[in-house]
């Protein structure tokens, strides 16, 4: 029941009591106080109504905006189409490179076992196998296109997530969602090849094993640690 209706009902009840022709002045005083209280309550509940209404309106608008932003992320498109496609492309890249490697290595191994007893025959066989290797290298064109598609998908997701995060003012939570296997990998495995070549070159590693630390690219702290 709205606050104004409650106040009106109390006021009616007070008027009924007053019109009952009561003589006690103290009771009339109490009734007067009650009337003042009703007026105050009416003003209080009125402001409370407006405040709550404003809060709910704000929450409603926030939810609507969040829903619009999530819709703009196109999560169903990402989950049902883009990510499965990207996964399939990467699997195809692995298969393509594996097949090409297998072909090239087999041809190389066959060349190494050829008997060079007849030069013309030997050359013909080497030429044929070399041509097979060149053909197998066409995998690079195919895998390059596949990887480009995956990069495009990642860029698409990255842009949308970044926009969502920015618009909604999202702060990153603490990363504690790491299962046992993932934790083992973090603790025990290396990260694999670095972009732009190895962090420490073979020459620097050789210098370390030769004891020629002056030629090494290793920092002094690293070297000091080795002698601790």
């Amino acid at each position: 029941m709205p606050a104004t209706d409650v106040a009106a009902k109390i006021r009616t009840a007070l008027n009924d009591i007053k019109s009952a022709d009561l003589d006690d002045p103290r009771l009339m005083e109490v009734l007067s106080l009650a009337e003042n209280l009703v007026d105050s309550m009416k003003m209080f509940f009125g402001s409370l109504d407006n405040s709550i209404h404003g809060e709910f309106l704000h929450i409603g608008q926030y939810i609507a905006r969040t829903r619009d932003e999530i819709a703009a992320l196109r999560p169903n498109d990402i989950r049902e189409s883009r990510l499965p496609t990207a996964g399939a492309e990467l699997e195809a890249v692995v298969n393509d490179t594996e097949t090409a490697t297998e072909t090239i290595m087999s041809l190389a191994e066959e060349i190494m076992t050829l008997e060079p007893d007849n030069l013309a025959n030997y050359k013909a066989q080497v030429d044929e196998k070399m041509m097979g290797m060149i053909e197998a290298c066409s995998f690079q064109d195919i895998t390059g296109q596949r990887v480009s598609k995956v990069v495009s998908t990642l860029t698409h997701i990255e842009e949308r997530v970044a926009r969502f995060s920015s618009v909604m003012g999202v702060m990153d939570a603490v990363d504690d969602d790491c299962d046992e296997k993932e934790q083992w990998r973090k603790d025990n495995l290396l990260n694999g090849p670095q972009i732009d070549g190895p962090a420490t070159g073979q020459d620097a590693i050789d210098a370390l094993f030769d004891g020629d630390v002056s030629a090494s690219e290793l920092g002094q702290d690293d070297i000091d640690n080795m002698f601790d």
Binding site: E109, L190, P193, P198, T200, L218, M226
Partner: protein, 129 residues
Amino acid sequence: MAVDMAMPILVVDDYKTMIRIIRNLLKQLGFDNVDEAADGEEAFQKMQASGGFGLVISDWNMEPMTGYELLKQVRGDDKLKGTPFIMITAESKTENVIAAKRAGVNNYIVKPFNAATLKQKISSVIGDF
């Protein structure tokens, strides 16, 4: 002392292609007696079961047992601790190299590598051949 070209060599890598590449490189260098394992656990079992390998060439990144863990187990085993051990990795952060050296690795090769590099590292570990 002359290097025994017939000595058994254990190649440890979880990628069959890499094992095949190293096998071929070793063959070109004159080593034909090559065995393989897909991770540290299998490698350690093979080492314990065999009469001993003359050289172990191992990748670092393998599951469930890494090459680094294999190295530590080998160095901690009275029968196997003297086995020459070369580590091969694609990642070569300084701390990894230092950790491997401290654990007793004899040499360390960064991927990708060629036959000349492999020959040089094997020579530095077991002598010229």
